[in-house]
Amino acid sequence: MHTLIDKIELIDNVMTYTEVAQTDDDVLIEEINLNYDSTLGQWIETNITGLEEGTILLEEFFNVTPLAYVARTTISYGHSDLPLVTSMGEL
């Protein structure tokens, strides 16, 4: 089982996930997801009503923080096109 690392950016006003790497390193997965939860994840949770109503726009987050990473997709196969990484520095 591998975990994919997604880069998250706002492209044409759509929050776009791009798979950039894969990892088997539990420490790296936790680091990425803790960072996501304390930034974009928390911002979405705090503003979810405004986002659903359209009174808050995703660009309000991404204008300040252009990109985020998340590691919450698991695959049972090796992804042949993605590098296997063990640290944030490799992203």
Partner: protein, 229 residues
């Protein structure tokens, strides 16, 4: 032909309002089929809309509205999908979807077309939530998913207990799933059970049967009949 279980992908990510895209690598083999289980918040009238794979629209095989948990769950199936790496695209309707969702995809080969005729669900029941499935064919693939406030801790299908979780997602509610490949001749019915560690907790149970290529479901007619000779 026996069903063979192939590649699996599971994700718990926040969509961007109306769509969600991720890749899955469909396994190669004869009589392929892709099963996808999508679970998402349904408060305020939000719905899981369509699901496509490699640009092909998938069929909605079963829908569960687990309103106790403010979640909707759908099973989507596509016979003979394109093999290799392609995108799953899920759309949401009835309101913008930004809540974290659960998506699980499993590649199967050796599957009948159409892939499924049987499914069942019980949206909320005190633990354990057991269902009896009838009309189950030999050599079928059974998949079931539970939604609960706390994680379902045990899946039992056809008497086989402690099945490993195929996914275990935290999307404010806990969503998980388990699978069993039936072998040999069965009785046409089986029990599908999910339980939580919390004795007072309620949970949903939503299963689907995928038929093996060449198999036919047994008759579910158990009534009396008169044979004239």
């Amino acid at each position: 032909m026996a069903i063979v279980i192939g590649n699996k992908t599971g994700s718990q990510l926040n969509p961007s309002g109306s769509t969600q895209t991720l890749s899955h690598n469909m396994s190669t083999g004869a009589d392929g089929a892709l099963l996808i289980c999508v679970t998402a918040n349904n408060s305020g009238g939000k719905q899981i809309g369509s699901c496509s794979y490699g640009g092909q629209v998938m069929s909605t095989s079963s829908t569960l509205n687990a309103n106790t948990f403010a979640q909707q769950q759908k099973y989507f199936i596509l016979n003979n999908p394109p093999t290799g790496s392609n995108n799953i695209v899920v759309t949401y309707s009835g309101g913008s979807q930004f809540n974290k969702t659960s998506i699980f995809a499993v590649s199967l080969t050796g599957v009948a077309s159409p892939a499924s005729t049987t499914n069942g669900k019980l949206a909320s029941n005190a633990t354990p939530n057991d269902l009896t499935a009838t009309g189950i064919a030999d050599n079928s693939y059974i998949f079931t998913s539970g939604i609960a406030n706390v994680a379902p801790v045990a899946y039992t299908i056809n008497g086989v207990g402690n099945l490993p979780f195929q996914f275990n997602h935290n999307i404010n509610k806990r969503v998980g799933g388990a699978e069993l490949l039936l072998t040999g001749s069965g009785t046409g019915f089986l029990t599908i059970g999910i339980s939580t560690a919390c004795s007072s907790g309620s949970l949903s149970n939503h299963y689907i049967e995928i038929l093996a290529s060449g198999s036919t479901p047994p008759s579910t007619n158990t009534g009396n009949f008169l044979l004239c000779m």
